[in-house]
Symmetry: C2
Subunit: 396 residues, 2 copies
């Protein structure tokens, strides 16, 4: 099973071409039975014993190892839990303590807003004169100086798909003594990531997009192994304790990546994810990337040939973008509603971005051409202006 | 359907008497089908459209209202999400900002460790000279003075079941100008709580115990409505933003309880919980409490008559304890293993506490007597010393 696509592994609704796996991945077929089993055979039959007998307690690290494999991280360096927002907070709080003499957090205007919001919330709490400096994506490298405590970026821009040079920016951060945090929300399962090779200190990401973990699937955090012992968890919950079941009154962090755990893990969600990750068996990210580039190049070609009113908002060079393609269009919101009504599901990002994700696990050339056909029809016949095509569609 | 128990609503394994609903509630029967439906009909068929069409986005506040009803809170004052540890952090961080001139957080040694750990982590991050003062439970009221910024307590002691006087302690906190935070982990669904009447500023709790939401079910947070607008969320995630889908670069909190949301909510877990809460329809907490007291009184009576080596570690007055009964026994860990092996599931808390939860939704007098019979057999025949009865059992 080394070929792409693997449509047979997914439950895709009839008549839908799904170009929104960058927002919420579709349901892998085997997840349905697995979740049912966790509910009835584990929770139902084992009750509290499930924590041991069904190995729920080790699940966050066990699944973390599976994710690690897809992002170029060693075993034992990634753990699952919470939401991406929480993991951003953990990483940044720890990073700032590693550079107590510096007060600038550098990010860019292409970062997903929750990363910026979490930073704003943390800095306001610290009340120690920190500043969140937000520059344009292309200005990041030049803005790193010796005042910067941490550089915090999302590798792939959620709107345009523009890709940062992870290695070059991390090197620039380190050359200036700053700690590097990468958000891999639109990278994990989308493009090859060499986390270990980048040498960044922290990385975080979510698993409900390209990793198909389901709505609200847990996030992950990576900590570079050599600094693990120096990372103080700001969110020091009991399951990050060195001995959670000793019930000590004082916190003492676990010696390994488990210290980034916080509270009781979401077993149903993590089990869905664990099962969903099986669709990656026998695949390399290089294969996935090659197929993704082929699909996205074809889509751009087809759309530009048919829809002159749409303007490519993603980098034209496929090596400079992630696994999504965005087009700007004044009536993009309405056009996306019409597309969704016609079974082509992408999404819209304010103010005018129509966003299409390419996930070669379950898409092929036929889908691309069919989607372009429908888009052409909507544009040529101004269906975006037709009240019959109004479907709410708004979530990342 | 106003009578107790309601065993027919639960999937309880044959041959098990479940006295650990205070740790992980059992599976309500209808949850199995509901979770299956969310996986296949919502995630699978609706894909990204589920956020709107299946109303996933409103779920945290909608389910919050259901929980509010069980803890004496008004609609619109409770929202679901994250873990209890995270919610403790949110409440305490906000509380401390309401009393910037004060540096003491007061808690007690009966608090669940993660609450203390999260406070330690927050105070270390703030680095502003705060102190976490931990006193014995009976010393709390006397320890509240005008240096205390926040009093943070769990109403029901996780080891002994000892119950704090919520109203009296909250009044003492307020008389001294301190903010009050209650952790309702062992209260919600266990005992009547009059959150509005207590006038406390914040409350938090989990839903996988007496509310039967399943392993890793989301936590909740309550904010007293009149202070909502003054509460700055330290964990300022995008779903707490006033307009999450505007994707502004600056955080601006929602005007209502939604500001305490952080990241993308765990839809599968929250759906399981939402369905599980239906078992409470038509019940009052006063009925549940009366039945719980009857069961726990009977258990104490039966155990004390049969097992002289066990010492009651809970308050003898039922009005002074929650819905659990604990016995101290030197070989408690091994004795609990033997009990579990015999189908009576309670749990153990270091150093020597055998803990039994009474949940009248699915327990009756027959269960209590049968459990006492088996416990008697284990004690009289020293089965706790028998290698045949070793079953791992360790999680809250």
């Amino acid at each position: 099973m080394a070929t792409l696509p693997r449509k047979q592994l997914f439950d895709l609704p009839e008549g839908v071409i799904y170009l929104d796996g960058n927002s919420l991945g579709p349901l892998p077929k085997s997840v349905t039975a697995r979740v049912g089993e966790v509910v009835t055979e584990e929770w139902g039959a084992q009750l509290i014993r499930g924590w041991n007998d069904a190995k729920w307690m080790e699940q966050p690290a066990r699944v973390g190892d599976q994710v690690a494999r897809l992002i170029g991280a060693p075993a034992g360096s990634v753990v699952m839990g919470d939401t991406l927002s929480i993991k951003v907070y953990q990483a940044l709080a720890s990073a700032l303590e590693m550079r107590p003499d510096r007060k600038v957090v550098l990010s860019d205007s292409g970062n997903f807003p929750t990363d910026l919001y979490m930073a704003q919330g943390l800095l306001a709490s610290l009340n120690q004169g920190h500043e969140l400096k937000i520059v344009a994506p292309e200005e990041v490298a030049g803005a790193i100086d010796d005042r910067v405590a941490a550089v915090m970026l999302t590798e792939v821009d959620y709107r345009t798909g523009r890709l940062h040079d992870m290695k070059a920016i991390t090197d620039a951060a380190h050359a200036n003594g700053a700690v590097m945090i990468w958000d891999l929300a639109h990278s994990a399962g989308a493009i090859p990531v060499d986390l270990a090779g980048s040498n960044c200190e922290f990385a975080v990401g979510c698993t409900y997009k390209y990793l198909n973990g389901g709505p609200g699937a847990p996030a992950f955090i990576y900590v570079r192994p050599d600094i693990m012992g120096r990372v103080r968890p700001a969110l020091s919950g009991w399951l990050g304790h060195d001995a959670p079941f000793a019930f000590d009154l004082d916190y003492r962090p676990a010696g390994n990546i488990e210290r980034m755990r916080v509270g009781t893990p979401p077993v149903l969600q993590t089990s869905a994810l664990e099962e969903a990750l099986k669709v990656w068996e026998g695949l390399t990210m290089a294969e996935v990337r090659a197929a993704s580039i082929r699909l996205s190049e074809k889509f751009i070609q087809e759309v530009e040939a048919r829809c002159p009113d749409l303007t490519l908002a993603s980098p034209r060079d496929p090596e400079a973008r992630g696994s999504q393609v965005s087009f700007a269009f004044e009536h993009g919101y309405a056009a996306m509603q019409a597309l969704v009504a016609r079974g082509v599901i992408g999404d819209f990002r304010a103010p005018n971005i129509m966003r299409f994700g390419f996930t070669p696990l379950y898409l092929d050339d036929t889908d691309i051409v069919a989607a372009a056909d429908i888009l052409q029809d909507i544009m040529e016949n101004r269906l975006w202006d037709d009240p019959a095509y109004k479907v709410a569609n708004r979530v990342t």
